[in-house]
Symmetry: C2
């Protein structure tokens, strides 16, 4: 199999798996169901992902890759911001581009096997270092935690804010980060 | 069966279910396993909880009841605080009293069936109303979201902060809420 054909099969499998997990529920995320959804044999599927954990790991990796693309895009647009401003702006961009429910795959992984979130842990540690090395630590940490609180409430479907309110809060967080930058200059 | 005996069986079942879900993983949370752990027949168990959803709903309810007890205890100790200060202080108390991993039952419910978190949604809506009616809305909301961000990061086991840092952050959030109160007076 050529590399590009293999990559496109991988992507097709991950898309099908995400769709099954989110639309039919995580209990329906089985190798059999994913193979069926892709019109692929189970053996063919297992050539790419040897078990359910490997599949979930692939889904988490795809989610992180999306997050990192958004960060890069934000950095290109605003190349001189503090780390916290980049983080909040890329979160906003991420929110506009993909449905929040896609991020629910992180919840599924956290319940299924928290080890699968190791790459996400690493990403969080990097963010922390970036923020601590560069920003007004306390205030930036507060803004970061608030952005995460807002997302996680939504992810767990217990947010008391509606979409309009959440958008307004996200914009306020960005404005506060920008004010931190200006105060530093 | 007397009411008190029935209540104590309920509690024993919920404790066993929580232990299984958290120590052996949510996939092991079956009525058979819970009955076995309690030394009870499956029929006896089903007298109290007719299926897994009912069991999870009971676990979420027990968690919420703990949260509300902590809030009441905090209100008795500091009866004149802003809603946000009470919220942050009771969160701190809750954190000292129960292991965070117990709250992981909320993640399990969010993945298994988000409908089960309806009582939690209601609680969040009440908090929002309390805060909006009484406090410096923007600043209080920021502190609340930050507290939730900190908890959810820990819940998902992706927190970049260690326990000492998290404790320091919680204390800072409380201090900021107290400062809001003083500014209001």
């Amino acid at each position: 199999m050529s590399q590009s054909k293999s990559d496109s099969s991988r992507k097709r499998i991950l898309d099908a798996a995400t769709q099954i997990a989110l639309e039919r529920g995580p209990k329906q995320l089985t190798l059999d169901n994913v193979a069926k959804q892709c019109g692929m044999s189970k053996g063919g599927l297992m050539h790419h992902f040897k078990n359910k954990d490997a599949l979930l790991a692939g889904m988490v990796e795809a989610m992180i890759s999306l997050l990192m693309t958004d960060t890069e895009e934000t950095q290109q647009q605003h190349d001189d911001g503090l780390a916290i401003t980049t983080l909040l702006r890329s979160r906003q961009l991420h929110h506009e581009k993909i449905a929040m429910y896609q991020a629910k795959i992180l919840l599924v992984a956290a319940v299924e096997n928290p080890e699968l979130l190791k790459p996400m842990q690493e990403l969080m540690k990097c963010k922390k270092q970036e923020i601590e090395s560069q920003d007004a630590i306390d205030e930036s940490t507060l803004l970061w935690l608030a952005a995460d609180g807002l997302s996680f409430q939504e992810l767990m479907e217990i947010s008391p804010f509606d979409e309009t309110e959440r958008n307004a809060i996200r914009q306020k967080l960005i404005a506060k980060a920008v004010a931190l930058e200006e105060a530093k200059q």
